[in-house]
Each structure stands twice: as structure tokens, then as C-alpha cells.
Amino acid sequence: MASVRALSRPTRGLPLSQISRQTTSACSRRWASSQAAAAEVPLEDLEDSALGAPPLSEEEKKTFRPWKRQADRKFALPSGRYNYHAPKYDRGPLHPVQPLPSSEPTARDFVPGPFNLPRLRQTYLSTVASDLMTLTYNHIPPGTPKKPTPQRLRQWDGSSPYHENRSLRAPRGAPVLPLLERDINFTNIPEIKEITLAAYVPAALQDMDNLLVARAALLAITGVLPEMTKTKTNVQQWKIRAGEFAGCKATVRGNEAYEFFDRCVNLVFPRIKDWKGIEATTGDSSGNLAWGFTPEELKLFPEMEVNMGMYPPKMVPGCRVYVKTTATSDRQARLLLQSLGLPFFGEVKN
């Protein structure tokens, strides 16, 4: 065995890359089929420690010259010591010094990977996704002509020569075009993309402490540092001026979003008194549903409940919850959330 292990030793002196050296040493592994006969003979090798290195022959000593390899190397290896520091500021896409991608362990915004699979996500991936696909399957016989997409932007009537090459106008009354519903197939099964919690705290205009408590509450519930939002308009009656801090929002994505949804469905909603469900009319007709929590309901979150002594109870705000899904219509999104445990009530619109 010792001789077999020693085979790779002279090759270490050769100027090979680290990867190819690893493969050569891997080849010196014992192969049971070819060495079955040889393994029976040298029983005295059993005395050898696996840690001991085989002695070098004179020839091997001559060929082993690491300093020569070092001198012959065309490109210097990166030094063994730390000499790189991730840049502190993102100076834009054109700057030569760019921040590392967040997946690099030395990046400043590196977060060590997911350590668990949320049970709701596990349920979704293993069961709910394929069930949704089957439930909504719509068979289109081969050879059926494709339906043309309707033009939803307003055309110019061409009464003026300046209408030539003008871009189309947005629909009347709505600045945003809602999505067109697509049939669900195996590439676009709807799932939860992100959940945004937003609290509007007009009392913060009088006393900033209200906003502080709101930020702390959202931070506790979502685990994400909330962003402060400003008022957009001047309204005399409400004593609001544009551009003042009067709210905050926090967004959770991916696994955290599933965990937050799980907490809502299994811990918070069942404890709300006389709760009927979510109003079925919710939605922006593009697959994003929303609901609200009153201050009393927000206090039911376990993260708030264990630490209610931290907040002045009168200052705890309510908040809106926006669930953004990859569904392309409200009814698809409703189907997804229903299958994840969210009941709806009332009249169904779209």
C-alpha cells in the first residue's frame, strides 16, 4: 500500500495545477478489482500508520523543488494572507470598483444561506403546485388558431399629421394596464413572490414616537428593517403636508414570505374574534391581493405578544398587507391563497 501511495509523490514536484494534482492523487486510490490479488501478499503493511508519509528516494528529493516551481510560475498566485476588502460604497455601474455579489462570503451584504425549508413552501412544492396546475388545466386541441391579443391602448384617430408615429395612449381612467390572464401550465404555476406590510401613521406628524413604534412593530413582525415613507399630497383638513415622514413599510420575499403567511393563517387569523375571512373583492386584477390588520389584530402576532411591554399600547399602528403573487389574475391568486389556507368571503368580482 505504501508504494501505491508513493506513486503520486514525484508528480508533486512537477509544475502542475492544483486541480490536476488532485486528480493524480485520486488515481492512486486502491481499486478492489485490479488489486485483489496484490492485497493478499503484503500483510506486514498492516503495521503502517495511515498518517505516516513514505520515505523519499534520492531521485525524488532531487525532483522536489518547490522554489523552482515558484520561480517558473508565470502568474503570481494570490497571496495566502488576506489582502482584499469589499468596497464600502456602491459607486454606480460605471465605476471600476464594484461591490461583490451578495453570494460571496466576503461581501458586505452576505447572508448565510437558508437554514430551513418553511413547511408551507414544502407543502406548496410537493402538493399544491401540481394540484393547481391540474385543477385549472384547460385543454386546447392541437391546430386551434391562437386568439389575438386585444389592443388595449387607445389609438390616435389620425386627424392631425402629427399623429404619425406617436406612441399609443394609456387607457382612459387607469394609469396602469392590468395583466392579461394566461392559462396555467407547468412553467407558470402561481406562487407567492413577496409580501409587503405598510403602515400609515398620520399621528407621526404630531409626535414622531408614533412612527418609531410603528417601525419597531413591523420590524418585530417581519424581521426586516422597515423603510420610512412620506406623505404625497397636501390636505388641509387632515393637516398633512407633502414630503413629511408619516409611515413605514417592510417587504419579505421568498422563504420569509411563506413563513409570514403561515403565521398569519395559523396563528393570527384564528384568534381574531368573529373573523369571516378575507373580502373576496380584494385584488388589483393582476394577481396581487391585500388585506388589513387593525392595531388590536396586529398585537395578536406572537412576536408582538411576547414583548408587548416594549411598546406603548396606544401607539401600536394597524397595517396593510399586500401579497404579491406570480398569478396573472385575481381569481388565480385567490385559488392559490385558498389552497394555502386563506378563506375568502363575500362577493366575487374578478
Binding site: T106, F110, S130, H139, D209, L212, L225, L335, L342
Partner: protein, 201 residues
């Protein structure tokens, strides 16, 4: 090599100029003390907060309030819970984000290898999942095509079964998914999957 040094030079210059020109804020640069940063932070933040909770402008509540030991008449002491919350956010502020990890070559290579393996593993899992969905979709497609071309049970005309299968009555309604279905999977499921007899006390 030379090109990289020339490209890196401007940033270094900017750094040094900033370092030497700007007077450093007193709260950042503490003299050599044995007081832990946390304690020093809490003391300074308490001193900064001061009494009173009136002002409305900006995120940093009351910067113009003077620090006073003794309460004046009509001046309300700051709620200790507020001070606690402020300290909480001070700890989370971007200034307090710990320095990035430092790794030499071998340690970095170990991380890189594990990271690549993890990405590969996730990719394999995702592709296996998508493959399953694709196979399910295609077999549904084949089955429906077969149904469409089959003349139904007894004297039914061709495609009767297909039309029945494509009926989506109540799928998008409020009772489309029974509530018993929406039960997250667990390692230890209960013996009785759904207790229909349960009532609020």
C-alpha cells in the same frame, strides 16, 4: 497588472483625501478606552435623547432639545420605552453593520466549493421538480386528446367525456378549495387529520 493599478488609483486617492480632509465626528472616533462600544453607545444615545417628545420634523426626533438632569415644570420625562426602542434602532443602524468576513486563499476556496455544490444541488432539485410538472402536464394533455377523440359511454357522441372533463364548475368560486385541503405538511401529523366536532368554547 499595471492597468488594474491605474484603474484602482482614483478610488484610493478619493479615500485618502476624504480621510484627511474631513474632520472625524466625535462619536465615531473614541479615544483609547477600556469601555466596551455597547456601553459607550448606550450612554451617548441616552444623553442625546433627552427629555420631551414634541418635535415632528425629520426622522431624528429631538436634536435641539438640551439635556437636563432636573425636570422643569411642565416638561415631561421621555418614556423609557421610547428610549429603549431608539437604542434598538441605533444598534441596527448601517453604521453598526459588522465588518465583512476576511478570508485567505484556502478558506475562500473551501467556501467557494461548498457554495458551488449548494447551487448545483438546488439546481438539480429545481429541475427535477420542473420535470415532474412537465410530465404531469403532458400526460394530462395526452389524456384529454384521447378523450376528445373518443365517442362516449353508450350512445353518447364523440367528445362527450372531454366536455365533461373540461367543465370547471365552481373552481374559481369561494368553495373551490375545501379548507381541509389547506393543511401544511408536518413531520408529525396528528392521528385525526381534521376535527370536525371542534367548537369554540
Amino acid at each position: 497588472m499595471s492597468t488594474t493599478t491605474t484603474t484602482f488609483l482614483p478610488s484610493l486617492r478619493a479615500l485618502t483625501t476624504r480621510l484627511f480632509s474631513r474632520p472625524s465626528p466625535p462619536s465615531q472616533c473614541r479615544p483609547l478606552t477600556t469601555t466596551p462600544t455597547q456601553l459607550a453607545l448606550s450612554k451617548s444615545s441616552i444623553a442625546k435623547l433627552g427629555p420631551g417628545s414634541k418635535p415632528a420634523k425629520g426622522s431624528s426626533g429631538n436634536k435641539n432639545q438640551p439635556t437636563r438632569r432636573s425636570k422643569r415644570k411642565g416638561e415631561v420625562a421621555r418614556d423609557p420605552r421610547m428610549i429603549n426602542l431608539l437604542r434598538h434602532f441605533a444598534v441596527l443602524s448601517p453604521q453598526r453593520i459588522p465588518a465583512p468576513l476576511r478570508m485567505a486563499r484556502n478558506r475562500y476556496l473551501r467556501h467557494w466549493t461548498i457554495h458551488r455544490a449548494w447551487l448545483l444541488f438546488r439546481r438539480q432539485q429545481r429541475e427535477a421538480r420542473e420535470k415532474t410538472w412537465m410530465r404531469q402536464y403532458q400526460s394530462m394533455n395526452r389524456a384529454c386528446e384521447e378523450l376528445r377523440l373518443t365517442s362516449g359511454p353508450g350512445t353518447r357522441e364523440e367528445g362527450y367525456l372531454f366536455r365533461m372533463a373540461m367543465e370547471k364548475k365552481g373552481v374559481y368560486g369561494l368553495k373551490g378549495v375545501p379548507i381541509e385541503y389547506a393543511r401544511a405538511q408536518t413531520e408529525t401529523p396528528p392521528r385525526v387529520p381534521w376535527d370536525h366536532e371542534w367548537k369554540r368554547d
